[in-house]
Subunit: 202 residues, 2 copies
DNA sequence: CAGCGTTGCTGACATTTGTCATGGGGAGGA
DNA sequence: TCCTCCCCATGACAAATGTCAGCAACGCTG
């Protein structure tokens, strides 16, 4: 009896290629492919996979949210997150969302099938380097509001724009930004956005 | 006689998966895989591929520079650029570097083999939507120096830092930035960086 | 050669940004 | 209940940023 797989990645080419790669293994079988996070649960319900491989970066619902939704709806399906970016915060949030494994796309292709088998067997699969980074980086030091404001500043918007968008006074926005800059150890807004993004805090 | 392929992508998993996908086609054969732009020419010399599939985002030499180097060294090898980001500027620069095709990773997996065959047959393969975007966006309006300064501003550095890094006076940096902001239609530095990046001007 | 655009610099100016002190209100823990 | 933390706000201040005008040098082109 082969392991049934669900594949979710927004890039069709990568999705198809991963499917080809995994189908080469005699004990693995890709039974569903989707290109958006909000299609995951529906497809899983229909095809009853054993393991779901989810990319983090996806339109609509991201892979971590999809993992949480999947665990809530179909707890029998194990989740393996496969992502381009090894952001510490991603790993943390993925595990909190109930993922059993976390693999970055830098890992050799041969290791993926093994990771799938381990996850299916009930083991955890986590990149050790990334796990260490995640411990060092720790949880996000930003409060909910600071995160909101910083996220709104991502596209280079001015304070006035952010204030309008979040229905805050300009002074409050500046205070939140100042706090975020301080906590991230940045010298200004742009750098704070970079640091927070790198750590997966946004 | 099958078509010999060289694969260059920095993400090992994607590289391996694409290899698996293409090797499924009876008339295609992956003869080399590399993970960095500066390994492309050497590998091509050794394995004599017919077509090289190059990712744009790679450490060391990027895919477009690798394409140019490859065309200069081994003009018989046709180049197909495969990239995540459909930035208008990338397409333009890829074609100028001598690439025969340009495919974004959003395209369905089934289309990739076809693209390879077309490129091998001497045809051009270009995403029509992207081609249109490229025409609309046009060439970069930024001068060489403005591009330098904007690139240096990408990581959120202050004017003083940029000035030091480029051996310019602070006033000059501010002038270049102001010009770049004006030309991109942005309201500030951060937005200008975003717009320029989106268009592939950096 | 004259004109043009790019580069580099200066100085001046208005605006924006970042910081700090201060205060009120609410939620949650000791 | 008191204390702490977060949220929201205000006002004031210093620093950074963006804009503008003007000047000089260089290389390219008609």
């Amino acid at each position: 009896m082969s392991i049934r797989l669900l594949l979710a990645d927004d890039q069709a080419l990568v999705r198809g290629a991963l499917s080809a790669l995994l189908n080469l293994e005699p004990d693995l079988e890709v039974v569903a492919e989707v290109g958006a996070g909000d299609e995951v649960v529906e497809a899983a319900r229909r095809t009853q996979p054993d393991v779901a491989l989810l990319d983090v970066e996806m339109p609509g619902m991201d892979g971590i949210a999809a993992a949480a939704a999947l665990r809530a709806e179909l707890p029998g399906v194990r989740v393996l997150i496969v992502t381009t970016f090894g952001r510490p915060g991603f790993l943390r949030r993925a595990l909190q969302a109930g993922a059993s494994g976390f693999v970055v796309k830098d890992t050799p292709a041969a290791a993926l099938a093994d990771a799938v088998r381990r996850v299916h067997a009930g083991l955890r699969v986590v990149d050790p380097v990334l796990a260490a980074d995640s411990l060092v980086a720790g949880e996000s030091p930003l409060t909910a509001r600071e995160t909101d404001v910083l996220r709104a500043a991502k596209d280079g918007a001015a304070v006035a724009t952010i204030a309008q968008r979040l229905f805050l006074s300009e002074g409050t926005v500046r205070n939140h930004l100042s706090a975020a800059i301080g906590k991230t150890g940045a010298a200004n807004r742009a750098e704070a956005v970079l640091i927070a993004t790198d750590n997966g805090w946004l």
